[in-house]
């Protein structure tokens, strides 16, 4: 049973990329873009995340050092004022990609590339990289929020209306999903949302925000998976996946 959900925004290419690490986010800037382009890209990237990132640390990285320190600090203050992100290293703002990759042993949290057909951790459990997951052992009630930007979230309970789960990877709800779920929150449009009973208020995957079509309440809840296919969020029975 395919259900095309109602799309509420459009996603398109943006010259900035967000990645999640244990110590916070990294904003990787394509330095070839103009300052105005970058600024609007940052806004576009972060606007969809709403306030779910407030208080998170962020560090700016660029591919070559073409941005001036003034520009960099402008971007930091933009992210702080508009979205509540804190600068990870206020003193030492400019880190080039080459320096970072040579000095850092940490691997970024990788999603499944959107364009690789059929590639998923479910089909290839042995070849895929191991990923982190946060396990939540309780029901998320109205007003409660869980956020994990280093990988996946598994909820052993319900996500009630008014509650929110955000993950940079997949979200698996072993219960009723009735609140808001945001998978691939850092822009991974290959992320999926799986729920034993899929009745969310709103579903967000990557930059795509959708709300469910009006449909009759089913008598028997069944496990379903939601992911982006051809730009639309599609909800299918889990076994077809």
């Amino acid at each position: 049973m395919n259900n095309s959900w109602i799309k509420m925004n459009d996603e398109s290419y943006v010259p900035v990329e967000l990645k999640g690490y244990r110590d916070g986010l990294r904003l990787i800037i394509d330095s070839d873009a103009s300052i105005a382009e970058i600024e609007s890209a940052i806004k576009q990237r972060l606007a969809n995340l709403g306030n779910s990132l407030a208080g998170t640390m962020v560090r700016i990285e660029q591919q070559n050092q073409s941005l001036s320190p003034q520009d960099i600090s402008h971007f930091y203050s933009l992210m702080q004022q508009e979205y509540g992100l804190e600068s990870l290293n206020a003193g030492d703002e400019i880190i080039t990609m080459s320096r970072l990759t040579s000095s850092s042993t940490e691997k970024p949290i990788q999603g499944i590339p959107a364009d690789s057909p059929g590639a998923s951790v479910y089909n290839e459990p042995f070849s895929a990289d191991k990923e982190k997951a946060e396990l939540i052992r309780y029901t998320l009630r109205s007003g409660q929020m869980e956020r994990f930007l280093e990988g996946n979230i598994i909820v052993l309970g319900d996500v009630n209306p008014g509650a929110e789960v955000t993950a940079s990877g997949d979200i698996i709800v072993l219960g009723n999903l009735r609140g808001i779920a945001h998978a691939g929150a850092l822009g991974n449009i290959a992320a999926a949302v799986v729920a034993m009973n899929m009745e969310p208020t709103q579903l967000r995957i990557g930059n795509v925000i959708t709300r469910p079509p009006a449909r009759k309440r089913r008598r028997k809840p069944m496990m379903e998976v939601a992911r982006i296919k051809q730009g639309n969020v599609i909800v299918e029975d889990f076994e077809e996946f």
Binding site: T139, R141, S142, Q144, N160, P161
Partner: protein, 265 residues
């Protein structure tokens, strides 16, 4: 040593104070020593519902600022032995009381009584924090409406974060006819979201309005309808196992005829 139970809901107007008045009276009628505490400071109405308004001399505010002792501020209910009210001040507001002060009063009351029922104000601000400060258990009241259920869900989360884990649910003002027509959530729908223990379902009963206005809790005059439900809830609080009557019986009947007449479902 008694039990301190907070009665709360999040949303206003779902029947918290009426529940406190009736359940408190029912517990007192079965020979328990009960104090009902109005924690809705600035908007008191528990004394009105219980018909004790004219006899309130001191309030919890007077106890806190030292102008009355706790014993003297308790208003005795003349209709039933062992039932007392600690009224809220109408002049002050919720921020004039600190959670610790409320807590101290309730803990003192708990020493001398079997039950301290705290009537919480609506909302999740300081008034709520005051009301739950001394409680070890909670009765969450909701009506079968989506908005009330949503607020109850929020309140349950907040109670759990205040380390209150014995939380029972009261579904108030259930109208079996509306449930049958599909215009109202039934208890199952509510429990599906809230998933906590259901301690009672109170059917909609128009007699409540009159009894509230007269200041005479319904439980004094009636044994059926809402009064019966309050009585059963008080017995379940006391630990008696009693089945919750199925208010859908009458509804199934309507649905059957509805089907014959080719209506919905």
């Amino acid at each position: 040593m008694g039990r301190v139970i907070v009665v709360t809901s999040g949303k206003g107007g779902v029947g918290k104070s009426t529940c406190v008045a009736n359940i408190g009276t029912a517990l007192a009628l079965s020979n328990r020593k009960v104090v009902v505490v109005d924690a809705d400071i600035g908007l008191r109405n528990l004394d009105v519902i219980m018909g004790l308004e004219g006899r309130v001399v001191y309030t919890s505010m007077d106890v806190i600022d030292g102008s009355s002792t706790l014993e003297r501020a308790l208003v005795k209910d003349r209709r039933v032995e062992n039932l007392k009210l600690l009224a809220a001040s109408q002049r002050n507001n919720k921020n004039d009381v600190e959670p610790e002060q409320m807590r101290d009063m309730c803990l003192k009351l708990k020493e001398e009584n079997d039950y301290v029922l705290v009537d919480s104000p609506a909302g999740i601000e300081q008034g709520f924090r005051n009301a739950v400060s001394a409680a070890e258990e909670a009765l969450v009241v909701t009506t079968p409406e989506v908005s009330a259920v949503r607020d109850a869900d929020r309140i349950i989360g907040l109670l759990q974060s205040e380390d209150i884990h014995k939380i029972d649910l009261i579904i108030n003002r259930l109208n079996p006819k509306m449930v049958a027509k599909g215009d109202m959530l039934d208890s199952e729908d509510v429990l599906d979201i809230l998933s906590i223990n259901l301690i009672g379902v109170i059917p909609e009963d128009l007699n409540i309005v009159g009894s509230t206005n007269r200041g005479q809790p319904l439980i004094h005059d009636s044994k059926t309808g809402a009064a019966g439900a309050y009585r059963r809830i008080s017995e379940r609080i006391e630990g008696k196992e009693m089945p919750i009557p199925d208010f859908k019986v009458d509804g199934t009947f309507i649905r059957f005829w509805g089907k014959l007449l080719g209506r919905r479902d």
